[in-house]
Structures are given as structure tokens and as C-alpha cells.
């Protein structure tokens, strides 16, 4: 903990968990989509479902989906801005068994028809955890830069990716693998120290059996 965790962050109110954290969850979904959003289906659980209008959680999530940061003053008007830009947004209250009380499920459709679904929780002080990406369980704190590598479950793919990271002189702080089934779709969630090097990400996405690689920076 440092002085800027105490005096800071600069954020749009009213609540670090219900507003700032919600922006971050939205932004993760947008980053994973890699393109402009044309439709967002947002499902809210627990305290998020109960209090989202009063806390502006809806505006915060949509702000994040539109690539805004937690201190972006446009968040207050994000629903109107989304409408202006022709982004279709819907909200639904749901119940997820054993989920954190501040949980959102976001399903995005991009302009080329691409889809991304994530489940994330705002766990206090603006910190978030992403629990699920496209149906695959992950556990991303987003405190550090992370690489989300979606790939085909084939022998040697993990070794190829991690040795490439190693060759780039980047240290891995955390690694988690999740897969649908043997030989099916799988995702590596790799937290790395420092190095927000975009070219690393581009090179990994070119490796064989890698479907996509996304770099999530701390926001």
C-alpha cells in the first residue's frame, strides 16, 4: 500500500466498488472484444442488481464498455452517449449461485459480429476479479498486466507461449489454464510483471494454435 492508494484514485463517484470497479469490468470486456461494440447485454447479480440505478453502476459499466477510464467525466452520460452512437444496451437482474454480491455478466457483440462474454466482480476499493471469459473459468485480479491467450488445446502450445514470454525477458507472476475439454478451446490467463509491451502480445497471437491474445493493462 502506498500514499496514492490512500489519497486516490481520482474517480467518478459515488462508490469505488459500485462505480469505479464497474467501469473496470466493462473495460475488460471491451478490450477482449478488440473492436467497437454494437450491442451489450448486461446481467447484474446481488448488490449490483439491487442498487445499480442509485449508484450509477449501469452508467459505469457502459462507460467501461465504451473504453472510458474510471475518472472519465462522460460516465455520467454514458447511457445517452451509447444511444447516440447506436449501441444497443440492455440490463437484466439475475441470480448466480455463490457469486460475489457485486457481480456482472457482460455479453458484447462487435461490429464484425464477434462476441465476448465475461463475468466479473467488484471486490472493494475499485478492485475487480474476472471469473469467467467465454464460458471458461479464470481468476484475474487485473492488478498486473495480463495476457489472455485463447488457444486450441494441443500439446506444446503452453510451452510455446511461455517460452516466448521468457525469451522476451518478461517474468510470469501467475498462470492459470482452463479448457472446455481435451482438444477443445482453452484459455491461458498469464499475469506478467511490468512490461506493457504490445508487440509481445502481437507475436503471441501469431503462434500456431493460438486463436487470440489480448493484453489487459491495469486501469
Amino acid at each position: 500500500m502506498n500514499v496514492f492508494d490512500i489519497i486516490g484514485p481520482v474517480m467518478i463517484g459515488p462508490s469505488s466498488s459500485h462505480t469505479a470497479g464497474a467501469v473496470r469490468i466493462g473495460k475488460v470486456a471491451r478490450t477482449l472484444l478488440h473492436e467497437e461494440v454494437i450491442e451489450a447485454k448486461i446481467m447484474l447479480h446481488g448488490s449490483f442488481a439491487k442498487t445499480y440505478r442509485g449508484h450509477g453502476t449501469d452508467k459505469a459499466l457502459v462507460g467501461g464498455i465504451m473504453d472510458m477510464l474510471p475518472d472519465d467525466i462522460r460516465i455520467r452520460h454514458s447511457l445517452a452517449l451509447a444511444k447516440e452512437q447506436g449501441i444497443k444496451v440492455s440490463f437484466e437482474e439475475i441470480v448466480i449461485d455463490k457469486a460475489h454480491p457485486n457481480t456482472a455478466v457482460i455479453h458484447l457483440t462487435g461490429k464484425s459480429g464477434k462476441n465476448v462474454t465475461i463475468r466479473g466482480a467488484s471486490v472493494g476499493g475499485g478492485n475487480i476479479i474476472i471469473n469467467n471469459i467465454n464460458g471458461l473459468e479464470v481468476e484475474l485480479s487485473c492488478q498486473n498486466t495480463s495476457l489472455i491467450v485463447v488457444h486450441k488445446d494441443t500439446p506444446g502450445t503452453i510451452a510455446a507461449v511461455t517460452s516466448f514470454v521468457a525469451k522476451s525477458g518478461v517474468n510470469i507472476g501467475n498462470f492459470r489454464l482452463s479448457r472446455e475439454e481435451r482438444g477443445g478451446l482453452a484459455v491461458m490467463a498469464i499475469e506478467i510483471d511490468g512490461a506493457e509491451n504490445e508487440s509481445l502480445n502481437e507475436e503471441i497471437s501469431k503462434l500456431s494454435n493460438v486463436i487470440s491474445s489480448t493484453m489487459l493493462k491495469r486501469v
Binding site: V3, F4, I7, V10, I12, G13, P14, G54, R76
Partner: protein, 290 residues
């Protein structure tokens, strides 16, 4: 090496090095974050600019939160102070107006600096900007005093809590008030020991305060408690500058706050199930909003 595990540590080291707590902290943080003191100063300076902007925006008479519960109080308060009728004068009246301005702006989805949290964001800006205006203090000293406030906040976060959900409002508005009192005393030329006494007195005065937000929103009673929090910071600072000491040392007060927080019922820790949130009027408001 500072561990931030006690206020006494900060006081002892500052005295040993013949420095203010703020100087001690900015140097240590520069080492820890591997950045220059100038960079850290600039980051804190930009937070102070956001605080000033929040006060200006929060004084808008037409400010209104989504629930309709907040907005416009800061404007009323300033108008009253400007009329010259304030019972306790300009400094006191304007510190209330500024605390309300920033807290209400937060309720209305404006841009604020969490200090230490969004719910208590009005207290520190109100204390420091009022002190700067009343005593003509240059901006550099105000920025530096934020390092002293932060250091106190880190110790409280380590040994107790700065979250209403964990420790009640004493942990949010209480911590902010203690941090503000510490900064005020340093700005007024108080010694590091006096900073610790001010922090102790401010916390003692808010000990036991519960977190009971109406409808679960950061509005009622939070915004007015920001006004009370800045008043309490001045009460503590004034007593200490007059030479009065806290009978209980600051670190023991912080630990007492932790124990009180642990004893506090779950219904009084940001769940909107007890206290003011459970009153008939609060329930009616809640039904209207949801």
C-alpha cells in the same frame, strides 16, 4: 525503511531526522515506488487540483443525484456564509460548504479524489483548502501536507480499517477526519508529536460511528457526516495547537477503533439494515427509489 505499522514510528523517525512527517514520507515513498520525489509531488499536486475542481463543481445550485436525495446543500451553505450571518465565522462556514460540495458531487457522479474513500472524500479537501485560504498558505505546503495525511491513513488501514463495510463510518469519516487533523497541525507548524495527538483526538471523537446509508447509497447520512468530519478535524487541531494532549496515545486509539469495528453488528456496517437506514422514512425513500 518505514513499515507504517504505527504513528509512533513516523513521529520517532521524523524527530530523529529533524524533518516533518511529510518530508520523511515523500522520501521513503520515492524509494519504495522507484520514482523521484518530484514525480510523487506532481501526482499529489494533480490530485489537489482535482480536489479544488470538485469544490467548484459541487457548489452548483442545480446539482442533483439520481435518487434526488443529494445536491444543492453546499450552495445554500456558501450563500449563508457569504451573507455574513454564520455563527462561527467564515473559516468554519466555508469548511462545511466545501465538505458538502465535494461529498455531494460524489453522490452526483462527479469527479473526486477518494480520500481515503469516496464516501469520505469531502473532509480532507475542505480542511486543507479552508486552511490555505484563511492563512494564505502556499500550494506547495498544502500538497506536502497530503503526504502526512496519507501516511496516517496507511497506518490506520494496516492496524484497523478505512472501509465502512469492515469498520463502520468511524473507519471512513473518522479516518479522513484524523488524516485532516494531522495535516492541519503540520501546516500550522505543529511538531510531529502534536500531529499524533491531533490524529488521536479526532479519532476518539468519532469512535463508534456506524455506517448506515439510506437505501445503501453514498448520500444520507454520508454527505453531512463529511461536514461533521471536517469540523471535528478543526476541533482536534485547535486543541492540540493550544497545547492540549490526548490522554490515550494515537496508536492505542487506532487499535481501539479496530476492536470497536469488530464488535459492531453486521447491520451497522454498510449493509443498510440498521441505524438510520432502518428508520421508517429511510424505508419509504428506499421503496421510492427501487
Amino acid at each position: 525503511m518505514i513499515k507504517y505499522d504505527s504513528v509512533n514510528e513516523l513521529v520517532t523517525m521524523a524527530i530523529a531526522l529533524n524533518k516533518n512527517i511529510s518530508e520523511l514520507v515523500i522520501n521513503q515513498q520515492a524509494e519504495e515506488l522507484e520514482k523521484s520525489t518530484e514525480e510523487l509531488y506532481e501526482t499529489m499536486h494533480s490530485s489537489l487540483q482535482v480536489m479544488k475542481q470538485s469544490v467548484t463543481e459541487g457548489l452548483d445550485p442545480d446539482l442533483k443525484s439520481a435518487s434526488g436525495m443529494s445536491g444543492g446543500s453546499a450552495f445554500k451553505m456558501k450563500k449563508y456564509v457569504d451573507s455574513g450571518k454564520s455563527l462561527c465565522g467564515n473559516a468554519f462556514g466555508m469548511s462545511i460548504a466545501r465538505a458538502l460540495a465535494v461529498a455531494e458531487l460524489n453522490s452526483c457522479m462527479g469527479r473526486i479524489v477518494a480520500a481515503p474513500t469516496a464516501g469520505a472524500c469531502g473532509i480532507i479537501p475542505a480542511a486543507l483548502l479552508t486552511m490555505a485560504e484563511e492563512k494564505n498558505i502556499e500550494e506547495e505546503k498544502i500538497v506536502m501536507s497530503l503526504f502526512t495525511a496519507s501516511a496516517i491513513g496507511i497506518v490506520i488501514a494496516h492496524n484497523a480499517s478505512i472501509s465502512g463495510a469492515e469498520g463502520g463510518c468511524q473507519a471512513e469519516c473518522g479516518s479522513a477526519s484524523a488524516m485532516a487533523a494531522a495535516a492541519l497541525v503540520e501546516l500550522a507548524g505543529g511538531t510531529p508529536e502534536m500531529v499524533a495527538h491531533a490524529c488521536a483526538i479526532a479519532l476518539k471523537n468519532i469512535l463508534g460511528l456506524v455506517c448506515d446509508p439510506v437505501a445503501g447509497l453514498v448520500e444520507v447520512p454520508c454527505n453531512k457526516r463529511n461536514a461533521a468530519g471536517v469540523a471535528n478535524a478543526f476541533v482536534a487541531a485547535e486543541m492540540v495547537l493550544a497545547g492540549i494532549e490526548s490522554a490515550i496515545p494515537c496508536d492505542e486509539v487506532i487499535l481501539a477503533m479496530k476492536k470497536v469495528g469488530d464488535l459492531m453488528s453486521y447491520s451497522l456496517k454498510e449493509t443498510a439494515e440498521g441505524g438510520l437506514a432502518a428508520t421508517p422514512t429511510a424505508k419509504r425513500i428506499s421503496q421510492r427509489i427501487y
